[in-house]
C-alpha cells in the first residue's frame, strides 16, 4: 500500500498510436506524455479529431482491432506498463482499477437487460461477490449516484431511465469496483445544462470521497474551468500546452489555447459582436514528420520563424509546458 501511495497513478510517456485506414496510415496520437495523480482531475481539451479520445482508448487498451495499434511509448499505471500486456491481464486492470464512462449512456448500456443484470454482472465478475452481495452493492451505488428509490429502479430497463439517470447508472457501474482511475469521455455533452451541473458535481464529490484520479475529456472549456486541476490542450495528435487550470485560463501560452478560449461565447461578453473563430481545419496526420509548426496555417500570430521546424514541447516553468516559439507575453 505504501508503494501505491508514492508512485504516480498514471504516467503516459511518448505514446504513439496509429490507425490503418483506406486512405493510408493515420498517426492519431503522436508522442503524448502526461501523468495523473490520485485525487486529481486532469482535463483534456481539443477539437474533434485531435486525438483526445484515442489517447484514452490507448490507455485502456480498447483500440479498435486490427486497425488501431500502439506503436511507441509506455503507459505506466501504478508502476506497471500496460502496453503489450496480454488481454487477460489487461482485463483485470480494466474495470477493477480503471473505469471509463462514455458520452452516450444509451449506447453503452444493453437495452435488453435490466439495469440490475448489467451492474451485478460487473460486480460478480470483477469482485467475486455472491449474487445477493452484488445486488446490495449495486443498490448502494445507485443510491449514492442520486437515483431515487434505487432498490426498485434497479429492476428497470435502460429505456425507462432519462438521459441524466442513465448517465448516473453508468457512473454507478464504473464505480462498482472502486477504481483508482476514472476516465470520463465527454460525460455530459449529451445532457442539458441543469443535469450536466448535477453530474459534474457528483463526479467531484466521488473524487473527494474516494481519492480517485479522473481524466475528463471534453470540448467545453466551461466544464474544464469548473472541474479540473490541470489541463492538457491537444492539437493534431500532440499536446500543445499543459498547465494548471488557473494560469491556463489567465494567460494561455499557446495561440491555439488562446483562440479556443476566444471562440467560446460567454455570458458576459458583448452580445452580437463577432465571435472569434479559428479559420481552416487541423492538418492531416499521415505519420510523416512536420517541417513546420502544425498550427501554423491557422495561427493568427504566425511569422517566418514558425516555418523552421515543429517546435518542441518545452517546460518553461514547473508544471507548465507549451509548444510555441513565441515569447509567452506575445501569445494572446
Amino acid at each position: 500500500m505504501t508503494e501505491r501511495g508514492q508512485a504516480r497513478l498514471l504516467e503516459v510517456s511518448g505514446l504513439q498510436t496509429e490507425f490503418v485506414t483506406d486512405d493510408g496510415l493515420v498517426r492519431a496520437v503522436d508522442g503524448v506524455s502526461f501523468s495523473v495523480d490520485r485525487g486529481e482531475i486532469l482535463g483534456i481539451v481539443g477539437e474533434s479529431g485531435c486525438g483526445k479520445s484515442v489517447t484514452n482508448l490507448s490507455v485502456m487498451g480498447l483500440l479498435p482491432k486490427p486497425q488501431g495499434r500502439i506503436v511507441g511509448g509506455s503507459v505506466f499505471f501504478d508502476g506497471r506498463d500496460l502496453v503489450g500486456l496480454p488481454e487477460s491481464e489487461l482485463r483485470s486492470v480494466r474495470g477493477n482499477r480503471i473505469a471509463m464512462i462514455f458520452q452516450d449512456p444509451m449506447t453503452s448500456l444493453n437495452p435488453y437487460l435490466r439495469v440490475e443484470e448489467q451492474l451485478v454482472e460487473v460486480a460478480e465478475l470483477h469482485m467475486g461477490l455472491s449474487r445477493p452481495e452484488a445486488v446490495k452493492r449495486a443498490v448502494e451505488l445507485l443510491d449514492r449516484c442520486g437515483i431515487p428509490d434505487a432498490a426498485r429502479r434497479i429492476r428497470g430497463y435502460p429505456h425507462e431511465f432519462s438521459g441524466g439517470m442513465r448517465q448516473r447508472v453508468m457512473i454507478a457501474m464504473a464505480l462498482l469496483c472502486d477504481p483508482d482511475l476514472l476516465i470520463a469521455d465527454e460525460p455530459t455533452t449529451a445532457l442539458d445544462v441543469t443535469i450536466q451541473a448535477q453530474i459534474l458535481e457528483l463526479i467531484k464529490e466521488l473524487r473527494d470521497e474516494r481519492g480517485m484520479g479522473v481524466i475528463l475529456i471534453t470540448h467545453d472549456l466551461g466544464v474544464v474551468a469548473g472541474m479540473c486541476d490541470r489541463v492538457l490542450v491537444m492539437y493534431a495528435g500532440r499536446v500543445v500546452e499543459e498547465a494548471a487550470v488557473e494560469p491556463l485560463f489567465a494567460t494561455p501560452g499557446h495561440p491555439y489555447t488562446a483562440a479556443l478560449l476566444r471562440s467560446v461565447p460567454t455570458l458576459d461578453d458583448e452580445a452580437h459582436g463577432k465571435l472569434q473563430s479559428i479559420a481552416g481545419l487541423p492538418p492531416r496526420l499521415d505519420g510523416g514528420s512536420f517541417r513546420q509548426c502544425t498550427f501554423l496555417p491557422r495561427c493568427a500570430l504566425a511569422h517566418d520563424a514558425c516555418n523552421e521546424g515543429d517546435p518542441e514541447l518545452i517546460e518553461e516553468t514547473p508544471g507548465r509546458k507549451r509548444r510555441c516559439i513565441l515569447p509567452v507575453e506575445q501569445v494572446r
Partner: protein, 362 residues
C-alpha cells in the same frame, strides 16, 4: 399569396414589422394504445405558447430537452400537422389555414436549418442539387445555367468554394461545411424567417463560432428573422435580440436578451443561467443547483409546472385552483410566476389557465 417584396432593413431588427405572431399555440401528440388505437392520453409538447418575431430579429428559444422548443419550430412550419389549437400569423395570415399552392408559397418564405448536418443532407445528391432543388421547384430559375450561377452565388455567400465544392457530395465535407450547405439551402429562396433548430449544437466550438458569425452576417445582409432554438444559453445570448425560456410546453419568461440575462425573474431562468459552467476557474460555484429532472409532459404537475423543482414554491403554486399570473415587469419583459408581483412597477397582464386538459384535442 403573392410574394410582394418589401424593402428589407440592413441592420438590426425592425420592431415596427411583425413577421410572425404566435398566439396560444398548442400541439398535443395523442398516445394510442390497444387494438383499436384508442387515444389514452396526450403528450402536451406545446401547451399555450405566444410570441412575436419582428423583421430582421433573432428570437432565442431555450429550455431543457423535452420542453417543447423544437415542436414549436416544427409546428409553425406546418411540419407537425395538424395543430391542436392556436394561431400563427405570418404577415397577418394564419399559416394553419393555408392549403395547396398557398402553403407552398409560404414554405418559400419560411425555412429551417436542422441540428444534425449529417442526416439532414441527402447523401446521394450533389451540393448543386441540394442547394438548387428548391430553386427549380419554386420556378425561380429559368434553366440549368441560371441555376448553377445562383447556387454558386449562394455557396460563396456561405463561405464555400463555388467552383470546387458544387459538384461534390455531402460525405466529402466536414460538419461545419455541411452546416454551411444547409444554410445555403435555407437562404436559397430568400426567406423572411428561418427556424434554426440547434444549428451549432453538433459542432466544435471553433466551428460553432464560424457558423454563428455566418448566420449573423446573413441576417444583416438579407434582413432575415430567426427563431433560434438551442439549449446552449451562452450561444443564444450571443446571437439573440430577445429570448424566450420554455418549460414543459409553456413560456416561463420572455425579455430582451440583456434584461433576461441580467435580471431574470423566473426561478427557472435563474437556475438555468446559474447552471452554465463559466470558462473562468475563479467563478463562484453554482449556489442553487436545480434538482430533479423535467417531469413528463403527459401528466404535467398541477398548478405551476415548475413548482416541484422550485425553491420559492408556495401553496398557491401547487394547485389548479389559482391560475398562474403573467406579469409584465418591464417593457417587453413578461414572466409567468408569482414572484413577478414583487418587482417594482409590475403589471398583471394575463394568466395561465389550468383545467383545460379535458377539452377535446383534434
Amino acid at each position: 399569396m403573392s410574394a410582394t417584396e418589401t424593402a428589407r432593413p440592413t441592420k438590426g431588427p425592425d420592431t415596427s414589422r411583425v413577421v410572425l405572431s404566435v398566439r396560444d399555440l398548442k400541439k398535443w401528440f395523442p398516445i394510442r394504445k390497444g387494438l383499436f388505437s384508442r387515444v389514452v392520453g396526450h403528450v402536451k409538447a406545446v401547451d399555450g405558447v405566444s410570441f412575436d418575431i419582428h423583421a430582421g430579429e433573432t428570437l432565442g428559444l431555450v429550455g431543457e430537452s423535452g420542453c417543447g422548443k423544437t415542436t414549436v419550430g416544427r409546428t409553425i412550419l406546418r411540419l407537425n400537422d395538424p395543430v391542436t389549437a392556436g394561431i400563427a400569423e405570418f404577415h397577418g395570415q394564419d399559416v394553419f389555414e393555408l392549403q395547396g399552392g398557398d402553403l407552398r408559397a409560404l414554405r418559400r418564405r419560411m425555412q429551417i436549418i436542422f441540428q444534425d448536418p449529417y442526416s439532414s443532407l441527402n447523401p446521394r445528391m450533389t451540393v448543386e442539387s441540394i442547394v438548387g432543388e428548391a430553386l427549380t421547384v419554386h420556378g425561380m430559375v429559368a434553366n440549368k445555367k441560371e441555376r448553377r450561377e445562383r447556387v454558386q452565388d449562394l455557396l460563396e455567400k456561405c463561405g464555400l468554394d463555388p467552383i470546387r465544392h458544387i459538384t461534390r457530395y455531402p460525405h466529402e465535407f466536414s460538419g461545419g461545411q455541411r452546416q454551411r450547405i444547409g444554410i445555403a439551402r435555407a437562404i436559397a429562396l430568400e426567406p423572411e424567417l428561418i427556424v434554426c433548430d440547434e444549428p451549432v449544437s453538433a459542432l466544435d466550438v471553433s466551428i460553432q463560432a464560424q457558423v454563428i458569425n455566418l448566420l449573423q452576417r446573413l441576417q444583416e445582409e438579407m434582413g432575415i428573422a430567426y427563431l433560434f432554438i438551442a439549449h446552449g444559453l451562452a450561444v443564444v445570448e450571443h446571437i439573440s435580440h430577445r429570448v424566450a425560456v420554455m418549460y414543459l410546453g409553456r413560456i416561463a419568461e420572455i425579455a430582451d436578451t440583456e434584461t433576461l440575462y441580467a435580471n431574470p425573474v423566473h426561478p427557472y431562468t435563474q437556475a438555468l443561467l446559474s447552471a452554465i459552467p463559466s470558462p473562468d476557474p475563479d467563478a463562484p460555484l453554482n449556489p442553487h443547483p436545480l434538482e430533479g429532472e423535467v417531469p413528463t409532459p403527459i401528466n404535467p404537475p398541477a398548478g405551476c409546472r415548475f413548482h416541484p423543482r422550485c425553491r420559492f414554491a408556495e401553496d398557491r403554486c401547487k394547485s389548479n385552483t389559482t391560475p398562474i399570473p403573467i406579469y409584465e415587469v418591464g417593457p417587453g419583459h413578461r414572466v409567468a410566476c408569482i414572484l413577478g408581483e414583487n418587482v417594482d412597477g409590475a403589471k398583471r397582464v394575463g394568466e395561465l389557465v389550468h383545467g383545460d386538459d379535458e377539452t377535446s384535442a383534434s
